[in-house]
């Protein structure tokens, strides 16, 4: 609690100075809305339901894309991590695809899926899959060989080996990739909305900016920041226990 309060000092100070500067006429109103106006715009957006709806649409696309990337990334990552042969075969293609900016796929996904959830989630999934995939390959490859020998000595069948040894042993590191992917998912979803897809918070910001409502634009921008922060905090909490649970000096 104390840390949250301390962390809040700087933002509160910035907003206070901003409000004061604005009231003193030091900041142009058409680009720097007053924080008080931003709060009012946010309240209006919430009460008329437009911000909750936009939030839902953006979160939906981000989460669907993230989920697809997580499942695909872990699945392929485990396979490639276990098979150096496949990794050598598929690896170069992955290295060639990975640098393609996800946003550059927007026109293609538009052709494939049209406007809406599917094209946005597809772009998000493409952007998110790489960190998950690469971290998973490394995590599986980095599993303590002794553990695999224990599994072998116990004659665990492959599904049991995967469920009881490989996945839990790799999970601690896979989580790192998942966290990176989550923050990417929100960024990419909003970017796709700003660039092309007429839905969600990104689109809402464009509309607010074009209709000369900077306060509403700021409101959505700040709200986005808060969402990203909350999402990351949630994830840290959910998976943080995984790291700390096994006593001192042990990292799975």
């Amino acid at each position: 609690m104390k840390r949250i309060l301390r962390g809040a000092v700087l933002p509160v100070l910035v907003f206070a100075l901003w409000e004061a500067g604005s009231r003193a006429g030091l900041l142009p109103m058409d680009t720097f809305s007053r924080p008080s106006d931003i709060v009012l715009a946010f309240a209006a957006g919430v009460s008329d339901g437009s911000i909750p709806l936009a939030t839902w649409l953006t979160a939906q696309a981000a989460l669907v894309g993230f989920a697809i990337a997580a499942v695909a990334g872990i699945l392929v990552g485990v396979i490639l991590g276990l098979s150096p042969f496949l990794e050598r075969t598929v690896g170069p293609s992955i290295e060639a695809l990975r640098p393609v900016p996800a946003i550059a796929l927007t026109p293609l996904t538009l052709l494939l899926f049209g406007f809406g959830l599917r094209m946005e989630a597809a772009v998000v999934a493409f952007a998110c899959v790489w960190p998950v995939l690469i971290v998973t390959v490394a995590a599986v490859r980095g599993i303590e060989p002794r553990l695999l020998e224990v599994a072998q000595a116990l004659e665990l069948a492959f599904p049991a080996r995967l469920r009881k040894i490989i996945l839990p042993a790799a999970l601690g590191r896979i989580v790192v990739g998942l966290r990176v992917a989550v923050s990417i998912s929100l960024i990419v979803a909003v970017t796709v909305e700003i660039v092309m897809n007429p839905r969600g918070l990104g689109y809402g910001m464009i509309i607010a900016q074009q209709s000369l409502q900077p306060a509403l634009m700021y409101a959505q921008l700040l709200w986005l920041g808060l969402l990203g922060w909350g999402l990351n905090a949630l994830l840290t909490r959910a998976f943080g226990q995984w790291h700390g649970a096994f006593g001192p000096g042990v990292s799975p």
């Binding site: 553990l147 000595a153 116990l154 009881k164 990292s251």
Partner: protein, 257 residues
């Protein structure tokens, strides 16, 4: 084959080479049912290679290994291996009870039988109070107890131990030596025990094999005719114990050179 009827395990002219470099050469010995065989040798003599081969984690380059009347091929749940590095061999995300349960799960033993057996092993290895703790929260000796319990849960016909007490302090080591001697005597388990500690080998073994390096080969094989149960104090002062120690000590010195 000069296999006697009571031999559970027999090796015949076994050779192991890694990339042309011989690690073990001309290894032939037999282990009788219920026997406690210790293999002692300097580091780099191929002790660990030998035990990994017996576990089925490694195939010999030449020669034959027969276990229970059949050629030994690959791993099997009736041969359990206890590794020296218990921190790496235990699942850090499972509790003590969960780690022991792993080998029962592998053996297809379902609840509630599984729970009963875990309980019994926890009691047997004096781990009951630590059942819900994670390996990372335990001392080295306790962690090694967990690994021993996990291997005993397999109810193996052959227990393979690779310097299991090498990383423990002297007092813990002696306690565990006596416990393992008692447990395998109760269960009549056959044991192959690797160590670099000559006194440990004589203290625990019915027979002791001394390996020499470059390539690893059998230098000597002695029978330890000191009655059981043995005692840390008296056995180590026994005339026969000291005689064996003197004789093998010299061999190990030679082997080192």
């Amino acid at each position: 084959m000069r296999e006697s009827p009571a031999a559970v395990l027999s090796l015949e002219k076994v050779r192991v080479a890694f990339g042309g470099r011989p690690v073990l050469s001309d290894i032939s010995f037999e282990v009788a049912a219920g026997e406690f065989l210790c293999v002692v040798g300097p580091s780099g003599c191929g002790k660990t290679t030998l035990i990994r081969m017996l576990a089925g984690l490694l195939a010999p380059t030449a020669g034959s290994i027969v276990f229970g009347g059949r050629p030994l091929a690959g791993t099997s749940r009736d041969r359990a291996i206890i590794f020296q590095d218990y921190t790496k061999a235990l699942l850090p995300w499972r509790t003590v009870a969960g780690n022991i349960a792993l080998s029962l799960e592998a053996g297809g033993i379902a609840e509630p039988e599984r729970g009963r057996r875990v309980e019994a092993l926890l009691a047997k290895m004096q781990l009951a109070h630590a059942a819900v703790q994670y390996p990372g929260q335990l001392s080295g000796g306790m962690q090694q107890r967990v690994q021993i319990a996990r291997c005993l849960a397999q109810q193996p016909k052959l227990l393979l131990m690779d310097e299991p007490f090498g990383a423990l302090d002297a007092i813990t080591r002696q306690t565990l030596q006596d416990e393992i001697a008692r447990l395998v005597a109760e269960e009549r388990t056959t044991v192959v025990f690797i160590t670099h500690d000559l006194e440990e080998a004589i203290y625990l073994g019915d027979r002791v094999i001394v390996l020499q390096s470059n390539p690893g080969r059998i230098a000597e094989m002695i029978a330890v005719k000191i009655p059981r149960p043995r005692s840390q104090l008296e056995t180590r002062e026994d005339r026969r114990f000291l005689e064996h120690r003197h004789r093998l000590f010299g061999l190990l010195q030679d082997a080192e050179g």
